[in-house]
């Protein structure tokens, strides 16, 4: 690590985490300073090492330089401004850090939508936000920090220099048109795909993952019970856990006696969600968890997920095409589309203009005023 004598710090006058302070909402600014310091500290706990040989070089070097720059700038600002530093300081530092990052990476100026959204948030100083949760000092590390993430196949770049953070206990919706790289992002996050950049999960993170659409042979002699039992054994959970999760997703015990290939699409999705919940995960990563599930079933799953998030302090990342679900259940939304990314609270991000930009066509979705978060 280069030129880094400054230890990790957080800016005073925030809640100690640099985010989620009442008045800024769960969708509030991302603590780039805090994050940069963490990224700069060697041996990030819980980080997934890139599988790809040489993944730490190239963009990785760029990231190190950025971290150093960000910390340097941050410390200057902190020292200059004294103790009572407003959120604006974060943003100043972020903006400077971002511009330095672009210079460091030597790329053409890419509009950092994350920073832009943060700026909008700060300017508005939004008061209430769904899912806001005050997190004490012990929880300052976000559940997930992604920095400069790039993922590609062969010569096609699917995700380019994506950065975002997911506060603990929040729900992040990942939206975007088909082919935008949502599932690719999910797979990179669990380390199943090679990537460049850094992905840092909080220490002791246990992920419950629901993959998108599995190709299961109809006559595979593995029952739902076999599958859940396997998941329970490997994650050292009890059989009581299995019974418990079946209740949570509304699956009848007799339907898990069937071959998983013979289950209906909706039943199978519920089974996958149930399996993800086994072993007391701290994070749920769901790739279209309710695809193919009937309307009441979707509601059951979404309400259950909301409740678990509250009860177990779960962090949820979910990919969805259902914008009203995103609106009602997400604290933040990350939109992906080739060339565009955005991040923020759904109420602000999911504007008709942005959706049109994202999907390349007008998108109509209906949100009742009385249901607005």
């Amino acid at each position: 690590m280069m030129l880094l004598p400054i230890p990790m710090f957080t800016i005073p006058a925030t809640d100690g985490c640099g985010w989620q302070r009442p008045g800024f909402g769960a969708g509030g600014p991302i603590p780039i300073l805090d994050h940069a310091a963490r990224a700069a500290s060697a041996g990030i706990p819980g980080s997934i090492a890139p599988d790809m040989a040489g993944a730490d070089t190239g963009a990785g070097v760029g990231a190190d330089m950025v971290s150093a720059a960000a910390i340097g700038v941050g410390s200057l600002v902190v020292r200059a401004s004294g103790v009572a530093i407003a959120r604006a300081v974060d943003f100043t530092a972020v903006a400077v850090a971002d511009s330095m990052e672009e210079a460091a990476a030597g790329s053409t100026a890419v509009v950092d939508r994350v920073a832009a959204d943060m700026a909008a948030d700060i300017a508005e100083g939004a008061a209430e936000t769904k899912g806001t949760r005050h997190v004490g000092d012990a929880s300052c590390v976000p559940a997930l920090a992604v920095r400069n993430l790039s993922v590609g196949f062969d010569r096609t770049i699917v995700i380019e220099r994506l950065s975002f953070e997911v506060p603990r206990g929040s729900a992040l919706a990942i939206v975007g048109p088909n082919g935008a790289g949502k599932s690719v992002l999910a797979k990179a996050l669990i380390g199943a795909l090679p990537y460049q950049g850094t992905i840092t999960w909080q220490e002791h993170t246990r992920i419950g993952y629901v993959p998108q659409k599995l190709d299961i042979e109809r006559d595979l002699p593995i029952t739902g019970r076999d599958f859940l039992h396997a998941k329970a054994v490997v994650s050292r959970a009890s059989e009581g856990d299995v019974v418990n999760v079946l209740g949570l997703v509304g699956l009848k015990p007799e339907s898990v006696g069937q071959s998983i290939g013979a289950l209906s699409g909706g039943q199978f999705q519920r089974l996958l969600v149930a399996a993800a919940l086994i072993g007391h995960p701290t994070v749920l990563l769901l790739d279209e968890p309710t695809a193919g599930v009937d309307e009441p079933g979707q509601e059951t799953i979404n309400v259950t997920l909301d409740r678990l998030r509250d009860e177990r302090d779960l962090t949820i990342l979910f990919i969805s095409h259902d914008l009203s679900v995103v609106y009602h259940h997400a604290s933040n939304v990350l939109c992906l589309s080739r060339g565009h990314t955005c991040f923020g609270v759904p109420r602000k991000v999911l504007t008709p203009q942005l959706l049109q930009e994202l999907y390349g066509a007008p998108v109509a979705y209906h949100v009742h005023h009385d249901l607005r978060p």
């Binding site: 797979k187 669990i190 380390g191 199943a192 992920i207 419950g208 993952y209 993959p211 599995l214 299961i216 006559d219 595979l220 002699p221 593995i222 029952t223 019970r225 076999d226 599958f227 039992h229 396997a230 998941k231 054994v233 490997v234 994650s235 071959s259 998983i260 996958l272 399996a275 993800a276 072993g279 990563l285």
Partner: protein, 255 residues
């Protein structure tokens, strides 16, 4: 040809091992790989005969090389794994048949009956036990990796390593049957009982149990038939197994 209790014991143990490994091989759709991997034993057997060492040792060494080759191909390329496997192992078969000649070739291809030494029997039983223990011990991990490698990964399973271990165990199983069934037939001992079980079973435990039963019945009955009818054991074992598979087709269509 006389009745040899060692041969029966070993064929039963190898049958149980093949039945268990076969279940996951079939569910993982490795049917072609099963045949192909066994073919690579041939050049190893040929070389061993040339070098005057035990043919099975040569076969096992070649199988291990083949295993790493398949694993490497699986990890490195996304496309047409089966095509590559097909090309590589047909080549192995061609090379093997050039090195090996005459009766040795026939025995390597279709298996032989030669007398078992006590060392061979003991080694065979130990290997069979190792295979059985591995599959029973790792079955939950194998199930998760089978349904979704990503779910397996997030549950803390090193999927690549598990795949390698499974392929090694698979190669060991092939090696176990090599002497009796030969390079061409040994793959079917792994595949046919498991394919039969897959048609009949409705749960994992059911499939494992049926597959082991069919496999043991095939190896022991086949060995006994080969002694009684004075035929090579490999052909008899595979024919008995195929008979069970045909019966499973009848039963399924009747229900």
């Amino acid at each position: 040809m006389t009745f040899d209790p060692n041969a029966i014991a070993l064929s039963a143990a190898a049958g149980a091992a093949a039945g268990l490994v076969g279940c996951f091989a079939v569910m993982r759709r490795m049917t072609l790989a099963a045949d192909a991997i066994s073919h690579i034993a041939l050049p190893g057997i040929g070389l061993a005969i040339l070098l005057r060492i035990h043919p099975i040792l040569g076969g096992v060494a070649a199988l291990l090389v083949g295993t790493f080759l398949v694993w490497g191909i699986e990890n490195r390329t996304r496309l047409a794994t089966e095509t590559i496997i097909g090309v590589v192992f047909s080549t192995a078969l061609a090379i093997g048949s050039l090195i090996t000649s005459g009766e040795e070739l026939i025995e390597a291809l279709f298996g032989g009956v030669g007398h078992l030494t006590s060392l061979e029997t003991t080694l065979g039983l130990v290997l069979a036990l190792a295979v059985i223990v591995f599959v029973l011990w790792q079955r939950h991990r194998l199930v998760l990796a089978l349904v979704s490698p990503e779910i397996a990964r997030t549950t803390g399973i090193n999927v690549q390593r598990l795949n390698l271990h499974f392929l090694l165990i698979f190669a060991l199983t092939i090696a176990l049957g090599l002497r009796y069934l030969g390079v061409l037939l040994v793959g079917s001992l792994v595949i046919i009982p498991a394919a039969t079980a897959k048609r009949l079973a409705r749960s994992l435990a059911g499939m494992l149990a049926i597959s082991v039963a069919v496999s043991i019945a095939s190896t022991t009955l086949g060995t006994w038939l080969s002694i009684t009818l004075h035929r090579t054991p490999g052909s008899m074992i595979v024919l008995v197994a195929a008979g069970f598979f045909l019966l499973s087709l009848l039963r399924r269509s009747g229900t």
